[in-house]
């Protein structure tokens, strides 16, 4: 690469005055709205009286999400392009990811904002800084304080998620990764009950997240070393991006492949693929359940968006090299998720392993850089995400004495009799996870499996079908426990949630069924949206 080095030296010696890059504010508006609202949320925290904060924050958050969604809709006809001096790709895929993240976040925030199930208290610690079990904590609880900082934190995280799948250069992508992750580490540690578990989860998540970020950054550095650019793609021949460099040298040096491996590891960590999955069960269990629902769905969608962007845009030229590795990761992820879920007795942990298993299905769709594979992935993500948010919302309702969630499976015995509606909703979500026809995920799996088959990876489909058979066992076991065993004498109570959570549950269940019965509209949308700015 002496020519590239020479070019950059030449650019450095050029003493042309610095011109501000042209920023297309309109195309970035979904992200700007969310991040702007998050900043306003910080101001609310600083200036609004404590009593008014909850309403202000929730209103602001929902409004920002709705406005950003409207901005995505308004942008849907934008021609495929890169904005902000090549840092952000605005194409149909970006918009599809952003719309999905916003819609799912909206539903998740409805559940996060719930405070009726516990008599005016929400799922978060009264005062995050107080030591668990201390006098200070008791006073904060007695005073009825709420940690309303959660809402701006969640908004910042969503802002990062919106940027993550849109980032067209690795540095922007890294910034987005950190913006989405850091607030999540914090809110994970804010559970009201079992605070030590929650704080432990947050610390683990933070340490491992920082560890994987380092890998990502190192991978990005190696790729820069190889290509002389951090941009994934740049059609300007004087300033080629990674995609152009890869295309120019079909068999690049070890630098390229080491870079791909390290970068890929950072991203696979976020989607919870094996062998980088180990944080998922611990964090999912410890985090406040509404946050678990939010991050398991939205983070995963954003991270898959980034993976798609890196693999399909930046590294499409070396697909032959990374494809076998992705296949191995997919198989490993499905096997680990499916087998480990078998012995879980805790509903949240079971859902965590099920999330690993489903990540394996989605990774299957990455083995091809073709249009159909991307379209199937785009269909799968929103249907899966919405069912996940719904299922965690049900978990928030089942509570033991003292308001602690009853997450042990044995406590769910006979729920079908004592609380038929939550049990039925949970059954719908579980049947969807199990891939029963006429649920959305059946169609999603069908599309992904078919795409993998068309891409010439029958071995993946065989593993996936076997894993589905194993998975049916642990999904159906929950249904069996709920409907075919007798209620426990001192069984959990079922909280009567607010209208917001009821809406969230109803919408999730409705979408799950409707997308199974009449998926054509979403299939067409995901087909049309599978267009990347290369």
């Amino acid at each position: 690469m002496p020519s590239i080095l020479a070019a950059s030296t030449a650019a450095a010696s050029n003493t042309a005055p610095f011109t501000a890059p042209h920023v297309e504010w309109g195309k970035l508006s979904p992200m700007l709205i969310v991040l702007g609202a998050a900043t306003m949320g910080v101001l609310v925290e600083a200036f609004a009286p404590r009593a008014a904060r909850y309403r202000l924050q929730v209103g602001l958050t929902l409004l920002a999400l709705a406005a950003a969604f409207a901005a995505v809709i308004a942008l849907h006809d934008t021609p495929t392009s890169v904005a902000a001096a090549g840092a952000v790709a605005v194409d149909k895929t970006t918009l599809f990811f952003q719309g999905t993240i916003l819609a799912i976040s909206f539903i998740a925030v409805l559940v996060i904002a719930e405070r009726r199930t516990e008599g005016g208290q929400d799922a978060f610690a009264a005062q995050g800084g107080s030591v668990p079990g201390s006098q200070q904590e008791r006073e904060a609880v007695r005073a009825g304080w709420l940690t309303t900082e959660v809402y701006p934190l969640v908004l910042f995280s969503i802002g990062g998620m919106l940027l993550f799948p849109a980032a067209n250069d690795l540095l922007t992508m890294f910034v987005a990764l950190e913006v989405l992750s850091l607030p999540l580490y914090l809110v994970c540690g804010l559970a009201r009950h079992r605070r030590l578990l929650s704080q432990e989860a947050a610390l683990k998540y933070f340490l491992l997240g920082a560890f994987s970020s380092a890998f990502f950054l190192y991978g990005a550095a190696l790729l820069y070393g190889y290509a002389g650019s951090v941009q994934l793609s740049n059609s300007d021949p004087h300033n080629p991006g990674i995609a152009q460099a890869v295309a120019a040298h079909a068999h690049g040096p070890a630098l390229l492949y080491t870079g791909i491996a390290l970068l890929g590891m950072g991203l696979l960590f976020k989607v919870g693929a094996a062998p980088f999955h180990m944080w998922t069960p611990d964090v999912y269990e410890g985090a406040p359940t509404p946050i678990t629902g939010f991050m398991s769905a939205a983070t995963k969608i954003a991270a898959f968006g980034a993976l798609v962007r890196v693999l399909d845009v930046g590294l499409a030229g070396s697909v032959d090299v990374w494809r076998p590795v992705i296949e191995i990761v997919a198989i490993l992820t499905m096997v680990v998720g499916g087998i480990l879920a078998l012995t879980q007795r805790n509903v949240k942990r079971m859902l965590a392993y099920s999330a690993i298993l489903n990540a394996g299905y989605i990774i299957m769709a990455l083995v091809s850089t073709g249009h159909d594979a991307l379209a199937s992935l785009l269909f799968f993500l929103p249907t899966y995400g919405i069912a996940l948010v719904g299922s965690f919302a049900v978990v928030t309702l089942v509570r033991d004495a003292g308001g602690v969630e009853a997450t042990d499976l044995s406590r769910w015995a006979g729920l079908g009799k004592s609380a038929p509606i939550p049990a039925t909703l949970m059954s719908i979500f579980l049947l969807a996870f199990a891939g029963i026809p006429f649920t959305s995920i059946f169609v999603g799996k069908f599309a992904v499996f078919q795409a993998a088959l068309a891409a010439g990876a029958p071995q993946l489909v065989i593993v996936a079908v076997l894993a589905s058979a194993v998975a049916a066992f642990f999904y159906l076991r929950v249904i069996v426990v709920m409907f075919f065993s007798d209620p426990m004498p001192d069984g959990p109570t079922i909280a009567n949630p607010s209208i917001a959570v009821k809406t969230a549950l109803a919408v999730s269940a409705l979408v799950t069924v409707a997308m199974g019965v009449a998926p054509a509209a979403l299939l067409h949308l995901s087909n049309a949206a599978a267009v990347l700015a290369r």
Partner: protein
């Protein structure tokens, strides 16, 4: 004349209402099932409205169809595409033509009358709302079955009517006999459902699609053996649904359901679905004479079996059920004859829908007045007490035995004629069977008539000691009976004048004239003589005052005893399938315990064990998680460098 090629045009204008014919009862069922107790007060009315609305739409479609020329009465309405992926299409779409139109009118027309009848019949039942929900569900499923424009959707409707039938036979599930009967119907139908599903899968692999357009237009060019296989599998499906030999055993037990159910599902509509399936798939059967031959044999055997069973039953509903089997045997026989029989099979199906539904409703009315007693030996002399029931039942009776000019005469006569017209030895055998069947039909129906409405009172007290007080049923029950009786009287004649029904259906099924070895007029006379013989013999046994009907059934001849036990249908099933099944199970259990279980448990234990072992890796320590991530990253690098090299 061969049928016009199958090329439906997209539905426009009024024909886009087709989907609503199905949607109305479906919505009704959904509201009643999901609404729960809140809909108890008005549930039955909503059920009736949904059925009537569907019928009204059907009528609108019918008259619109009449306004089109004969070969332009074929419409397809695409409703939605389930999973639009390349190489596979599972569409929901409806096909309206003369054949499906006929069924729509029959199903919604008779269905509406039976809904209205049920308002009175089920008035004292706590679960009346649920009953109407199931009836609506049945209507919706049956309409999906006959209106589907592809075999996959047809299969969905097929399963739907099976479900509704199961729910309704077992409606009084507190009676063990009803619960068992429902289960039996379901299990026997599974056998047929497997047949139909195999046929559908064969169609997909052979023709690359489920749609009628694919199947009908590509069938003539397909491999003959495959076509025969598809035909036989379709026949297996039809046998179970239409209670044809050898899958007939469930229908008699199905009479445990409420009588309106017996009338609607197990006489007029659902059990005729097999005939619909064969006639709809006529393209398959047209090119496979062997499959057709088997269809006629099945029809002929069932025709005789049903008639013989009908002679021996003292339970009025079971006698009628035997008769249903027998009459459907006629239809299947007609359908098996090919283009010379299709239209008459359907014509008999429609007229039978009228008179058999009427007869069942009449039987229900009698039971209503007799404390739900079904034993005809406890009836007698009811004509004075239930005049409307007597007259309507009597008109249905005249129709079914084929007395001119009532409906059954026209349609049954045509099937007998077509059987002879088949020609050759098979023509003679089938024709004579059909003729003998007509004689026996006249005998057992006269027996039912005489034992119920004539002779001396043989009423008994019921278990609680209530005297029987036979009385005429309320208006909501008698009016449907009267309307059905009108159909029983006039439908056949209307259909036959100027061959109007045959001309109507001809563009769909095609029609051919056979060459009967006997002059048709002579044949009609012979048939009438046979009928008269049957009536006369029954009169001699049950009608004369000198020989009153014994209140307890006499021992009877071996044939009677066999017929009382459904010609050993259950005994045969038990010996042939249940016992061998049990032996097979025992054998399999043996192997299962020794061999398979070892493997299965091994796999399960292996999975569980590896799960526990993997779990140990999940030890909660960040340091070991980080180590495994590090190892994973190292592996990724190694793998990538390896692949590259």
């Amino acid at each position: 004349m061969p049928p016009s090629t199958y090329a439906p045009v997209a539905a426009t204008g009024v024909f886009t209402l087709t989907a609503w014919v199905v949607a109305l009862p479906m919505i009704g069922a959904a509201i009643l099932l999901l609404g729960g107790k809140r809909t108890n007060a008005w549930g039955h009315l909503l059920g009736c409205l949904a059925a009537l609305g569907s019928f009204a739409l059907g009528a609108v479609l019918f008259f619109s169809l009449l306004g089109k020329p004969g070969d332009a009465r074929s419409y397809d309405q695409h409703v939605y595409t389930w999973i639009p992926v390349p190489g596979f299409s599972a569409d929901a779409g409806f096909h309206l033509d003369q054949l499906s139109m006929t069924f729509v009118l029959l199903i919604t027309g008779v269905g509406s009358l039976i809904h209205i009848y049920s308002v009175g019949y089920m008035a004292h039942d706590d679960n009346r709302r649920k009953f109407f929900a199931y009836l609506n569900l049945f209507l919706a499923a049956m309409l999906v079955l006959v209106l589907a424009n592809n075999y996959l959707l047809l299969y969905a409707g097929w399963e739907g009517v099976g479900l509704a039938s199961y729910l309704l036979i077992g409606f009084w599930q507190h009676k063990p006999s009803a619960a068992v009967a429902a289960k039996k119907a379901f299990i026997v139908n599974r056998v047929g459902d497997v047949g139909l599903s195999i046929a559908v899968m064969l169609m997909y692999t052979t023709f690359g699609g489920f749609a009628f357009t694919d199947v009908f237009n590509k069938a003539p060019g397909a491999d003959r053996d495959t076509i025969l296989g598809i035909g036989l599998m379709l026949l297996l499906g039809a046998c179970a649904k239409s209670a044809q030999f050898p899958l007939q055993s469930w229908l008699l037990d199905a009479m445990e359901g409420p009588t309106p159910v017996s009338a609607l599902i197990h006489a007029a509509t659902m059990v005729t679905a097999g005939v619909y399936l064969i006639v709809r798939s006529h393209v398959i059967f047209d090119i496979s004479p062997n499959a057709r031959l088997l269809v006629t044999i099945v029809g002929a055997i069932t025709l005789m079996m049903g008639a013989i069973i009908g002679c021996a039953k003292d339970d009025i509903k079971k006698a009628l059920a035997g008769s249903t089997m027998s009459q459907i045997g006629y239809m299947v026989l007609g359908a098996g004859l090919g283009p010379i029989g299709y239209v008459f099979a359907i014509m008999h199906l429609v007229t039978h829908g009228f008179f058999k539904a009427g007869l069942f409703l009449g039987a229900g009315s009698v039971m209503h007045g007799m404390n739900d007693d079904v034993d005809m030996r406890h009836y007698g002399a009811l004509r004075k007490y239930m005049p409307v029931t007597y007259v309507t039942f009597g008109l249905g009776y005249l129709a079914i035995i084929g007395c001119p000019p009532f409906s059954g005469f026209w349609s049954k006569d045509k099937i007998i004629e077509a059987a002879f017209a088949q020609g050759g030895t098979s023509g003679w055998v089938l024709g004579c069977t059909a003729l003998l069947g007509a004689l026996i039909t006249a005998f057992y129906m006269t027996r039912v008539m005489l034992m119920t409405f004539f002779g001396e009172k043989r009423w008994v007290e019921d278990e609680q000691g209530h005297e029987a007080h036979p009385h005429e049923s309320p208006k909501s029950m008698t009016i449907p009976m009267i309307l059905l009786a009108v159909g029983s009287v006039f439908a056949g004649g209307l259909f036959s004048i100027g061959s109007s029904f045959a001309n109507w259906l001809e563009p769909v099924t095609g029609r051919a004239e056979g060459h009967s070895p006997i002059n048709t007029t002579v044949l009609s006379v012979i048939t009438l003589v046979a009928v008269a013989l049957g009536v006369g013999y029954a009169w001699r046994l049950y009608g004369t005052r000198t020989r009153p009907v014994p209140a307890l059934a006499p021992a009877g001849s071996p044939l009677t005893r066999a017929a009382r036990r459904d010609l050993y249908g259950d005994a045969f099933n038990e010996a042939a399938f249940m016992r061998t099944g049990q032996w097979l199970t025992r054998l399999l259990v043996y192997f299962d315990l020794r061999g398979v279980d070892g493997v299965v448990n091994g796999v399960a234990a292996g999975l569980g064990g590896s799960s526990s072992r993997f779990r140990r890796l999940q030890n909660g320590f960040v340091r070991s998680y980080a180590l495994s991530m590090f190892g994973g990253a190292a592996l990724l690098i190694a793998a990538l460098l390896l692949v590259k090299a």
